[in-house]
């Protein structure tokens, strides 16, 4: 029963927050924090279950079933394995960070703000836990609406344009997903007479190669928009830049991850053959994303757009890792999902802190802030280093594993992809350091006197500190996280990138040493 409560708590909390909204922002804020903290405790209980005396013999850490529309075989099926567990915990931590980073934006209509925030998180949690494809699609669409409101109501100058663009891109992708799910459903029902949307039963449905390629493209239409894969990324910079701080954090740290999760959970296991077929194209797109995102990021003058483009670049690594077809690369991709969420979430929070103080996101109007804001500066440098992949910080492990795994795959494409993608390290160094220099060093912009501003407050420290700890922990000791991801994914066979399932445990434990890159 733990799983439905994970989702229901934020839903009820959202409703409660809305009711309390009349009395100013403090009530809803407390509700958000309490609900998310409670949820986090629930999820942590599940994690301790994994690391209990014995790992459960069952495939799933927890499961839940309830009929929904029995006539069509739609059920409320929730299940949690290691991957879902990690992402659920990630979601809740990021949710808390997003609430913590919101200081003034929720003063207008506070109840509705926290309602949207909590419902977005509930949608994301639902996506990570749903095992019924229609339920998955339900949550997939559900998180769009409150996110749309977050951007459209509390966003910056160009918010209406950005919110509509975001919504249309993701919804059209989603409808292709729906059509593909239904086609798969009818093919499966026609072959077996079993009308079901339950994912584990649909895995292994026999389809012709052409059909399965088309179906997979339908799934990928939704996931590629969310991830984003490069030609479908144009909604991202607008949405990220125009959203309020909490919205940007959730977008970058969670919504993008649902795309990667969809690939891992649905697209690859359902269509292993077709996945292998397009793997090379996907890797090329991944590398393109890495380089393109980095170049674009360097060219931005708006801090939030800059960070948004770094997401394009980093999610390119995730795409590369998912489609490289080796266990190491896949592990790297999962770590990348997590670490990128922490580092980018923090960068957006910092952008919010700066905006609170300077009322601008333009890099041209910043500069020379180091003497004024030394603590904020050093925190920023930490996350800039994380973003550029400094050893000792989680992002390094992730990107390194992706490159290693991709190289190891051994085909011409993958080797050259790995080689070119390593260039991403250099480029990320360039844009990260430039960003720090333009904000904190150099001359103060003309017309400003460098009057004193409050440095990082305790509240703000409390927001970024957990992220620093998490990144350092993953950077220095990634094994628990990697093990958790594998506990169930390896066993259920829910992840397999090629026709031949490889021995995940074997590779994972043999290659343990290079994984702990912090020691190198």
């Amino acid at each position: 029963m733990i799983l439905p409560w994970l989702i229901l708590l934020p839903l009820f909390g959202g409703a409660l927050a809305w009711l309390l909204g009349r009395g100013g922002p403090s009530g809803p804020r407390k509700v958000s924090i309490c609900v998310l903290a409670l949820d986090l405790v629930l999820a942590a209980l599940a994690w301790t279950g994994v690391y209990g005396a014995e790992r459960p013999a069952a495939v799933w850490i927890a499961q839940f079933h309830m009929p929904w529309v029995p006539g069509l075989g739609i059920g409320i099926d929730l299940a949690m394995d290691g991957l879902s567990l990690l992402l659920v915990i990630l979601t809740l931590i990021i949710g808390l960070v997003a609430v913590g980073a919101t200081k003034t934006e929720d003063e207008r209509q506070p109840g509705f703000f926290h309602f949207c925030l909590l419902w977005t998180l509930a949608g994301v949690l639902g996506v990570f836990l749903a095992m019924d494809l229609i339920l998955f699609y339900f949550f997939w669409e559900l998180m769009l609406i409150p996110m749309f409101f977050l951007i459209a109501v509390w966003g910056h100058e160009n918010r209406h344009y950005a919110s509509i663009k975001f919504f249309i891109f993701t919804q059209v992708g989603g409808l292709f997903l729906l059509a593909a799910i239904l086609a798969l459903f009818f093919i499966h029902a026609g072959a077996t007479g079993n009308f079901t949307f339950y994912l584990p039963e649909l895995v292994g449905t026999k389809t012709g190669p052409a059909v399965s390629l088309l179906l997979m493209l339908g799934f990928l239409a939704a996931f590629a928009v969310k991830l984003p894969v490069v030609p479908f990324h144009t909604w991202l910079p607008d949405a990220h830049a125009e959203a309020p701080t909490a919205g940007s954090i959730i977008l970058a740290a969670l919504l993008l991850k649902t795309g990667a999760y969809g690939m891992l959970r649905l697209a690859l296991p359902l269509f292993p053959g077709a996945g292998a077929q397009i793997a090379e194209i996907a890797m090329v797109l991944g590398v393109t994303g890495i380089l393109y995102g980095a170049f674009m990021s360097y060219a931005q003058t708006d801090l939030k757009r800059l960070v948004a483009y770094t997401s394009v670049s980093h999610m390119g690594f995730a795409l590369l890792g998912i489609y490289a077809g080796t266990a190491i690369a896949l592990q790297g991709a999962i770590l990348q999902i997590i670490c990128h969420a922490f580092s980018t979430g923090a960068l957006f929070a910092i952008a919010g802190f700066l905006q609170d103080r300077l009322q601008t996101r333009e890099l041209d109007r910043m500069g020379g802030l180091w003497p004024v804001l030394p603590r904020l500066g050093s925190v920023t440098i930490f996350f800039a280093l994380a973003s550029m992949g400094l050893p000792g910080i989680g992002n390094f492990i992730a990107e390194f594993l992706v490159l290693l795994g991709t190289f190891q795959a051994g085909t011409t494409t993958s080797v050259s992809a790995a080689v070119i993608a390593s260039g991403g390290f250099v480029l990320s160094t360039v844009y990260s350091l430039c960003m720090v220099r333009r904000i904190f060093f150099g001359a103060l912009p003309a017309g400003t006197t460098g009057e004193s501003m409050p440095d990082l407050s305790w509240g703000e420290t409390a927001v970024v500190a957990p992220l620093i700890i998490a990144l350092l922990w993953i950077g220095l000791h990634p094994q628990p996280v990697m093990d958790t991801a594998w506990v169930a994914t390896g066993r259920t066979g829910m992840i397999s990138t090629g026709p031949a399932p490889y021995q995940i445990d074997e590779i994972c434990y043999d290659r343990r040493q290079p994984g702990t890159g912090g020691a190198k």
């Binding site: 529309v69 669409e141 459209a152 509509i164």
Partner: protein, 486 residues
């Protein structure tokens, strides 16, 4: 006519009796309250008496009548039409924009139109089909231009009058050709003879079908027969607009099921072609026309053109999915359409201009949060978003299309949903944005009846959005009864 026959058509008789009561009552003394109450009671009684009709089906099967069919489909559509009419009557009862016009005849006309609509869906013969359609149309002429002082109202009425007459004659001519081609005027016989023909129809039958379809398409406002829709929607008072958008279209779908149900349309290349073209044209025309409408009623008119195109996708599907998907979508379409126009209706005050421009809704969320949330949910439902019933409605459409491999139509539907989002979101953004600088139109607090209707619609929208199984069971029952009728 035997007693069971009379029992089976009891709902029609009650509706007829109610209209006579109001007519006589108005002739004796004009009391709007009496007419309103009589209308509400009559429609409710008629709804309840549907149980009697349904009961007639059970032991011996449907009674055999030459002109009317009573089966699951009849019950379903009658219930839908009567519920919608009841909601519209209640909205009309609390509507403040009538000006000096007495409202007695409005209720009378609504009941008559509902009677025509029910007759249309129960038709077993071309005469009843045409009779029902004409009763509906003639009542609508008067309903549309009910507020005689308003120019848009008169314009809409005239447009509808001219175009509806043309379409009626097209329909008549089409029915005549079908009679010539098949030698029968009984709908069941005609459609089974067409079904038993070859894959390609004879020119006579094809011409007849095309003209019949054109006549129906006009009522459904399918492109290219959609020209009247924006003007009529804009010109009518909001409750009447809700009526035109739902009852008259739903009834025509009932008739379409009668005419095109004996066989799978998929097997008939000619018919499939007609329908596909109508569907594709409606989706594109509706959505593209709606994109930059500043008038919310016109925007909703264009959006309903597109929605009729969506429903046709499911209508073209084969097998059991077809009726289920269309019926489910129609129910939800009724809810959200009446919901949208209901909001406009309750926000109308006595200064006789309805709040219908996008600017009128700016900042609605801050001024009337409850109404704003209802409106937003209705619009989100039109866009097919989860938590609202529109999600499952769209799900069913796509499922029906996919089950029959109508890929082209599905892809066009998906693209059009994307286009449609643009104007739905524009409206939602207007609702949630801050109020404009210029003086706001004062918005009244909704009257009791209006709040009741909107509340009920909201409950249904959310209930069936989260748990659609009960509605689906009911539709499945109607579908089975429907099959038994043939």
């Amino acid at each position: 006519m035997t007693v069971p026959d009379l029992a089976a058509i009891l709902p029609l008789l009650i509706a007829l009796a109610t209209s006579l009561v109001i007519l006589v009552g108005t002739a004796v003394r004009r009391t709007p309250v009496f007419s309103f109450r009589a209308a509400v009671c009559g429609i409710s009684l008629s709804l309840i008496s549907l149980a009697v009709s349904a009961n007639c089906l059970r032991p011996v099967g449907p009674p055999a009548m030459p002109l009317l069919t009573v089966d699951g489909l009849s019950i379903f559509f009658a219930a839908l039409i009567l519920c919608a009419s009841l909601a519209v009557t209640l909205l009309a009862g609390s509507y403040r924009g009538m000006g000096e016009n007495p409202v007695d005849e409005l209720y009378l006309l609504i009941i008559l139109a509902a009677l025509g609509a029910v007759t249309l869906t129960w038709a077993a013969h071309f005469t009843t089909l045409f009779l029902g359609l004409e009763i509906l149309s003639v009542s609508l002429y008067a309903l549309i231009s009910y507020v005689r002082e308003k120019e848009t109202s008169l314009e809409g009425g005239i447009k509808y009058l001219v175009l509806a007459s043309v379409s009626s004659s097209l329909l008549l001519f089409g029915l005549a050709l079908l009679y010539a081609a098949t030698g029968s005027m009984e709908i069941g016989v005609v459609s089974s003879r067409i079904a038993s023909g070859s894959r390609w129809l004879s020119p006579l039958a094809a011409g007849g079908l095309a003209l019949t379809l054109a006549g129906f398409s006009f009522k459904l406002a399918l492109a290219p027969f959609h020209m009247w829709a924006p003007d009529v929607y804009e010109g009518s008072t909001a409750p009447v607009t809700a009526f035109i958008a739902t009852v008259s279209k739903g009834a025509v779908f009932g008739a379409l099921f009668r005419v095109f149900s004996a066989y799978d349309i998929n097997d008939q290349a000619t018919v499939l072609g007609f329908f596909s073209l109508l569907s594709i044209a409606s989706m594109f025309v509706g959505n593209l026309l709606a994109l930059y409408q500043e008038n919310v009623k016109r925007m909703l008119a264009c959006s309903s053109i597109a929605h009729m195109g969506y429903i046709l996708v499911a209508f073209l599907a084969a097998g059991a999915m077809r009726f289920q998907a269309v019926a489910f979508y129609l129910v939800i379409y009724f809810i959200m359409t009446i919901g949208c126009f209901g909001v406009i209706s309750v926000l109308t005050n006595s200064c006789r201009r309805e709040p219908d421009s996008l600017d009128d809704f700016r900042g609605l969320f801050q001024r009337q949060p409850g109404t704003a949330v209802i409106f937003t949910l209705m619009v989100l439902s039109l866009a097919g978003m989860p938590v609202t019933a529109g999600f499952f409605a769209k799900f069913y459409l796509v499922a029906a299309g996919v089950s029959s491999s109508l890929w082209l139509l599905i892809i066009i539907l998906i693209l059009n949903s994307g286009i449609g989002l643009f104007y739905y979101l524009r409206l939602i953004i207007a609702i949630f944005s801050g109020p404009p600088e210029k003086a706001l139109m004062p918005l009244p607090v909704a009257a009791y009846e209006g709040r009741f209707v909107l509340g009920m619609l909201l409950v249904l929208l959310i209930w069936w959005g989260l748990y659609p199984a009960p509605l689906l069971d009911w539709i499945a029952w109607a579908g089975i009864g429907f099959k038994a009728g043939f």
